[in-house]
Structures are given as structure tokens and as C-alpha cells.
Symmetry: C2
Subunit: 505 residues, 2 copies
């Protein structure tokens, strides 16, 4: 019997590798579509995506999958199979339940709805007209509510959605940490608004050719330890990182010749995501576990490099001279401290993706509160524009003058991605906690940045986070790496200290 | 009953679209591997290729496929289904028989053998040591002979192999045309060797930056009518064209900064292949018929543009000034006629892929005779190096001094591609026949080239060749487009006239 279980274990792992193979082909297709696939081929390519995706769907909800899950979850099997297989079973079961609990007809209807909604959302945003998008959003919310009843929920209904992106996360935890954050950040933002000593930033916006920005970005990626033999850097409208497999983790970026921050900080951010995927344990290659633990943990890695490395003064003590080499004397008369203050300018704004690290969590909280309200029947879709605008005024002191710069700015809801936004703020909090824990092992952290020696930092992150892929749950990773659970204090402390310094509060 | 046949026809077409979808994903993966996929990801990508390929294999030899073929081949079905479906059935049946007639175990053994053989061939070529490669080649030949008995043959056994690449082609036809060609080309080559008036070529080899070569190549591609909204031009070691789908037909090229001919004529050659795939009838999209009719017809399109367009004096009367714009005065003192003679220099050489259009067919004939001899037990693998060298001496007057520049130069045999080589010479003959027929419709052919108006040429080729994809067999295409069967005279006449002029014979 145990021999047949081991045989089945092997078959099951191979079965999941087939799913991964289709997903790898899909990942390459998506990368290609975004980086330069010829326009006229995209219609037929959509057919290919459809066929491969439905193959993935079929494999993950098949009778064969059901049998693997049932048989390898038995007590006898659990005593024999490898630890990684157990986690693999859990992952597959989660996916199986997620898809199987929704009636096939409804799932299909939902998929069609989303593809229509995204097109309508684009038009609505263009016209800044929420009314156009409203019926679609209402339908998406209604269907998602029904899905929650299929999936079941513990405590708050919204927990079910949070769990899709951040396994184990609850409103109970988020309410606490967001409340802590809000209590500290809102007054800090207000103090900054009133501060006399605002950084000058005009010198940042001199013409900086694309090729030079690219060359500098590549140098920084190398410093971070991004492996160019297992990746490449391309150009897109919307930057992203994609782990096609762990030996092929690609980054894209966008160049603005009059604002180098877009490409440089963008590349470093995506580079942080990419380091995660490049450094997952080799034995997970080709399995569905060879990916990040959660959206929040993934974001913690990109934000760690973007904020705790690349927005740190020590980093620029090393790299400012290098940056200057790629410009035509732009910063020759700008001291590094002045440059540092400029790239850390903070001011309330309306658009999340353009926000600085201090105000960013407030953008996320607004979305969190709205989503929680929607799924607990406390907010109606029709009221979203006014609720949105009121919250912006309350938390950030700015009020959108139209839907485009307000409630229509993000694509997430058109894609049915409720529960995703909190990951961005979780990423910031996780990153601050990791940084604090890292200082115990690497008390010379600042000096390492000044020397451009980022290797020990990458190693710390790889040992405690990257290598595990999906083998550990996000809160387990946090606990093991830092010795405690989610705690907003580290982020608060970091932001307070940093911005008090920059604005001389 | 007829309703259920029509239902089955629809299902069958969709079934083949699934096969095409996997092949499209594979085509993109191969393109990506050759144009810049990160090295460390290729191991896992090979797994993906394996999984997708075996899916294609399974679908094309499945019970479902057998049922489609049987049911839709019935007399009743044939009276009802569309003409394109009939051809689709034929194609699928051919593929089915090809694969199913070989026992699965042997096919697997063969696949493994080929992958080993290619690696060994690379090493053998590097070391110029045929002995290393010999046992693998012997095994490949032995297995292929056995496959021929499985597949069956009509007339010469080698016909079965020819048919894989050029449906309907036989040794009977090839013996005739190659004999005609040889009788004319060998003496012409000898006359040229003895001619006093050889073209000067030294001015061709001045430094020509990659970016300028690329810019010029793009201009020429546009002139040809290559659609950049349905394609793109990239760089690779070994240039190729790939029809990922008919709206996504990509070209690659190689740049040699001290010999622009490599990139320019290479791009035009691949551009000819690409025009074919871009102009197949839209309703064939996504089916296995959306591809070239045969290797020979495909090659006729690339060679048409490379030789009959881009090596024609009239073409350069238009484009020489354009070329000059991309150089730093390289050709300012070189008249266009002198340039034309230089790019048409002909001399016997050892390496096929570097050969000029006049001597090229001799390289192909040598391989044809050897392959025919091998599969009719007239030549032994162990004798290949000496047979090869003797034939080169006989036909081209040059003798390889080692295996690397002799029998080991081509990868084809390591890949089991016997019967493929004749396509290259067929392409030349087809192209010459198409050119002659085109002159009837377009008597102002030379003038069109001089005006850079290649649109009517593309339209002629699209109407008679491109649009049909695999709907017609190669010899049918030839017959319909030119009114006659394969005839070497047109190529002979073209070469004789052209080279007599260039060498003032």
C-alpha cells in the first residue's frame, strides 16, 4: 500500500508539473503580448490563451485531481509523503475548492462579465463617468457575494476575499494595524503639509536619455544581485516582473526622459519582486509551489528594495556618483543630501500609483474600508464616488474633482480583484519588520549600502523568505523571520523618523 | 445523419485548432529561446516543450482523431463537408499515419537518438571527426529505413522521404531536372572560373554599423510589403522566419559589420518566407492548413525575393541610393553596375550556406545523390566522407580538406531530416518558373523594381501561391501558376543569361 502511495505521490507531482508547464507557456505569451507582439496576431493569440487556460482549469478541477487530493490527504498517506507534497496538496485543494465550489455556468458567466467590465471600465475612466461602469461593478459585486457563500467564510465575509491574496489574513488583524497606521500617518502628513522646510525638486526633471537611464538601472540591478543569466530587462507601458520559471524571471520598466525616477525606482521595485522568484529553492522548480507565498510578501520584497534600499541616504552615498556618470552634469552642484530629500518628497495626492511611501498606506486603507463596507452591505456601489471622495478628503486632505482621478483610477475592481489592495500596505509593514530584524544580523546595514555591498542583504532575504516559495504561509514567514506577528509599529517608527528628518519637523 | 456529420465536422475543425494552439505556443517558445531567453531558464523550458509537444502528439494520434478521419472520409461525409475540411482531413490523416505506423516504443527511441545525435554532431563537427558521428548516423539511417517499410513506398524507397517535405515529389522527377541542371551549370561554373573579367568586391567589406544595416533592411522589407503590424525583426545567430500565426510572422537576421550582405540578403530571404505566411487566406487562421504548402514552395518565395528581386540590377537602380544614405560614403565612387556585379560574384566553395545562387544547386545535388544512395543501399555511411569529397571535386572542382568543411557541415542528418535538401534546389527552380510566368502578367517587371513598386509582385504571388496555404499540393500550385510541371530550363536560362552577362562570357 505504501508503495502505491509513493507511486501516486510521484504521479501527482508530475500532474502538477503539467499545470505549471501550461502556466509557463501562458506567462511567456503574456510577457510577449506586453513587450512587443505584433498587433495583428493578438486575436488568434487570445484563442491560444483561451485553450491553454481552459486546459489549466480542467486539470485543476479534474476527477484525477480530486482523487489525488482525497487519497494523498488520508492519514496513512500523510505519514509517508514528503513535506513539500503535503503543501502541494493543500495548494491544489485550495485551487480545486475555489473553482469547483462555483457552478461551472456561473464561473463562465463571471469570466465573460470580467472581460466586458474591463473594456467598459477603460471607457468609463476615459470619460470620467462612473455611471457607465456602475452596472458592471454591481454585477461583479453581486456575483462575488454569491461566491463567498459558496466558498464559506469565517468571521467577516471579507476575510474570504483577503484569504485569496494573503492566506490567513483577516479584517480583525487589518483593522488593528490600519488603525495604528492611520493614527500616526494622518497627523504626520498634516505636519508635513504645514512644514516650512520643503525639499526642492526642480533639478530632478532635467532630460535624462532613455539609454542612460537603462544603463544606470542595469548597474543597480547587478548591485542588488539580480541575475541577468536568469532574467532580462525590457520596456513596457505598465512595468511588471514575471517569473516564467525560476531561471527566467523578467523585468520590464517604463522610461520618462524628463523624470528618471519612474524608470529607476520602478526597475528597483520590480527587481525586488524578481529576486524573490530567482531565489526560490531549486527543488520546487516546475511545481506550483515555485512562486511567492502571497501578494503581501511579494510586495514586501519589491518595497524593501525600493524604499529601504533605494530611498535610503546610504544607498545614494554609493550610487550618486554613478548616477552622475550617466547624466550630462545634471547634479554636479547638488549635494547628495539635497538629492536624497528631493527623491523623498511627500505630499498628498489623488492617484495611488503616483503616491510616495508615506501617503501610500492611506490610499490603500481607503480601498480596504470601501471593500469591507461593500461586502458587509454597509456601502452601496452607487454611493462609491461620494464615499471615495469623502475619504480622500478626510485622510489626505485632497478631494478628487472627477471620477477619473477618483473611484475609476484602479483596474482591480473591473477584474474582480477584491481583497487585493491590502497587500500593498501589508508589503510596507512586512518590509519594515524585516528591516528591523535584519539589523540584528546586519548591524552594519547602512555601511553595506554605502559600500554597494548588497549581497548580505539578498542572502538574509533569501534564507528567510525567498527560498521557501509557497512552502510557508505569509504570517509564518513573518513570524520565523522576525519573531513576531504583524505589527504596524515598525513602519510607523521608520516613517516618523525618516520624514521628521527630511522635513525637519 | 447529415446533421450529425456537419456537427462532427465542426468538432473536428475545433479539435485541430487545439493542436494549432499548442503549436503556436511552441513556436513562440522557440522564437523566444533563439532571440534572448535567459540561459538559466532553458532547462525548465525544455520540460514545457516536452509537455506541449507530447500533447500535440497525443492529439494527432488519438482515438478521437482516428474516429474523425474514419467518419469524415466516408463517401457520405465527403459529399457534405467543406472542401477545406477535406484537405484538413487529408493533412491529419497523413500526420496520423506518419506517427501511428511507427510503434510508440520505436518512435520514442528515435526521438532520444536524435537529441543525442545532434549533440554528438556538434562535437564531431567541432573536432572535424566523422568517426565520432558515424555510429549515430548509422543508427538514424537504419531506423529511417525501417520507418520506410512501415510507411510503405511507391517506386524508389527514397520517394517516401521526399514526400515528407515535398508532397508528390519523386526521384523520377528529380533525376530528370537535376540531370538537366548539372549538364548546364557545371560547364558554366567552369567557364566562370576561367573568365578574365571577374568582378571586384573589395569595396563591399567596409564597416557598416549594425543600426544602419537594420534601418536599411527595414526600408526594403516595407518595400516588399512585409507588414510590421503582423511581424517584427529581431537578431539571432541563425536567421529564420516563423509564422507564429498569420498575424504574427517574425523574422530574425544576423549582422556582420564588415559584410552587410549577410543581413541585407538574409533579411530579404526571410522576408520572402514571411510574406508567404502573412498572406494566407484569413479563414484558414488557427487550422493546420495555415502554413506553407511545402518546403520547396516556401523556399521558392524566399529565393524569389532574394535572387529575382534583390540580386537584380533594376532593384539596385532604385535602392542603391537608399543604401548609400545609410553608409558613410562607402559606395560614392562605385557605379551601380559595378556594385551589382560584386554582389553577384560566383565561385565554387565548400560550404553550402555560403554558396552563391549559381553553384548552390550543385551543393544540393550532391546531398540528393548521397541520400538516394543511402536509402537504396548503394552507399554506406562509413563511405560518406570520401563519397562527399569526390562529388565536390567532380561537380565544383574543390575538395574539402577535412570533415568539418565536408560531410559534417549540415545539421540535417543529425536531425533525421533526409529528403529535405532537394527543397532548396526545387525552390530555385520553382522561383524561376514563377518569374517567367509573372512576366506574362507583369511585362514591366524590371520597371516595377526600378520604381520600388513591389506591390504588384506581391499580389501576383499572393493570388497564385500565398493565399492557399496548404490547400493545394506543391505541384498543383506550380501547374496552376505557370501552366506546366517542374522544368529546370527556366532556372538554367536565367542563370546562363545572368552570369554570361556578369562574367562577359
Amino acid at each position: 500500500m505504501s508503495r502505491s502511495i509513493l507511486q501516486m505521490e510521484k504521479e501527482f507531482v508530475n500532474y502538477t508539473k503539467k499545470i505549471t508547464a501550461y502556466n509557463e507557456a501562458l506567462a511567456l505569451i503574456y510577457w510577449d503580448l506586453r513587450t512587443g507582439a505584433p498587433r495583428q496576431g493578438t486575436g488568434q493569440r487570445a484563442e491560444v490563451i483561451g485553450i491553454l487556460s481552459s486546459e489549466v482549469y480542467d486539470l485543476s478541477v479534474s476527477e484525477a485531481m480530486a482523487a489525488y487530493i482525497a487519497n494523498l490527504s488520508s492519514l496513512e498517506a500523510q505519514n509517508i509523503i514528503a513535506e513539500t507534497t503535503k503543501t502541494l496538496i493543500e495548494e491544489c485543494k485550495k485551487e480545486y475548492d475555489y473553482k469547483r465550489k462555483i457552478p461551472a455556468e456561473e464561473y463562465k458567466e463571471y469570466t465573460i462579465l470580467l472581460s466586458q467590465a474591463e473594456t467598459v471600465w477603460e471607457e468609463a475612466r476615459e470619460k470620467s463617468d462612473f455611471a457607465l461602469f456602475k452596472p458592471y461593478l454591481e454585477k461583479i459585486v453581486t456575483m462575488t457575494k454569491r461566491f463567498i457563500t459558496y466558498w464559506g467564510s469565517e468571521g467577516n465575509k471579507y476575510n474570504t476575499l483577503l484569504d485569496l491574496y494573503e492566506p490567513g489574513m483577516t479584517t480583525h488583524v487589518l483593522d488593528r494595524v490600519f488603525s495604528d497606521l492611520r493614527a500616526s500617518i494622518v497627523p504626520l502628513v498634516q505636519k508635513i503639509a504645514a512644514a516650512d522646510n520643503k525639499p526642492k525638486t526642480d533639478f530632478l526633471f532635467q532630460t535624462f536619455p532613455k539609454t542612460s537611464q537603462r544603463a544606470f538601472s542595469i548597474e543597480v540591478l547587478k548591485q542588488m544581485g539580480y541575475n541577468f543569466e536568469a532574467g532580462r530587462l525590457d520596456e513596457t507601458v505598465h512595468p511588471f516582473a514575471t517569473g516564467i520559471n525560476r531561471g527566467d524571471v523578467r523585468i520590464t520598466t517604463r522610461y520618462d526622459e524628463s523624470d528618471f525616477r519612474m524608470a529607476v525606482f520602478g526597475t528597483i521595485h520590480e527587481g525586488g519582486h524578481a529576486l524573490y522568484e530567482q531565489n526560490i529553492r531549486e527543488d520546487l522548480t516546475g511545481t506550483p509551489l515555485c512562486s511567492g507565498a502571497s501578494m503581501g510578501i511579494h510586495e514586501s520584497q519589491s518595497l524593501f528594495y525600493e524604499n529601504f534600499v533605494a530611498r535610503d541616504l546610504s544607498f545614494w552615498k554609493k550610487n550618486y556618483e554613478l548616477l552622475k556618470q550617466f547624466t550630462s552634469g545634471h547634479f554636479d552642484h547638488v549635494p547628495v543630501e539635497k538629492f536624497y530629500r528631493a527623491i523623498n518628497e511627500s505630499k498628498p495626492s489623488l492617484i495611488r500609483i503616483e503616491a510616495d511611501e508615506l501617503t501610500y498606506p492611506l490610499h490603500v486603507m481607503i480601498r480596504y474600508e470601501i471593500e469591507k463596507g461593500l461586502f458587509n452591505d454597509e456601502i452601496k456601489v452607487e454611493d462609491l464616488p461620494s464615499v471615495w471622495n469623502d475619504k480622500y478628503e478626510e485622510y489626505l486632505g485632497v478631494r478628487p474633482s472627477n471620477d477619473k482621478e477618483g473611484v475609476l483610477q484602479d483596474v482591480h475592481w473591473a477584474g474582480g480583484s477584491f481583497g487585493y489592495f491590502p497587500s500593498y500596505a501589508l508589503g510596507l509593514m512586512y518590509a519594515a519588520q524585516f528591516k528591523q530584524a535584519m539589523l540584528v544580523s546586519l548591524p552594519n546595514y547602512a555601511q553595506l549600502l554605502e559600500e554597494g555591498n548588497l549581497q548580505p542583504i539578498k542572502e538574509w532575504l533569501t534564507t528567510r523568505i525567498h527560498q521557501f516559495g509557497k512552502l510557508k504561509k505569509p504570517l509564518q514567514i513573518l513570524q520565523d523571520a522576525t519573531g513576531e506577528g504583524l505589527n504596524a509599529e515598525y513602519l510607523i517608527e521608520y516613517l516618523t523618523e525618516k520624514y521628521s528628518g527630511i522635513y525637519q519637523l
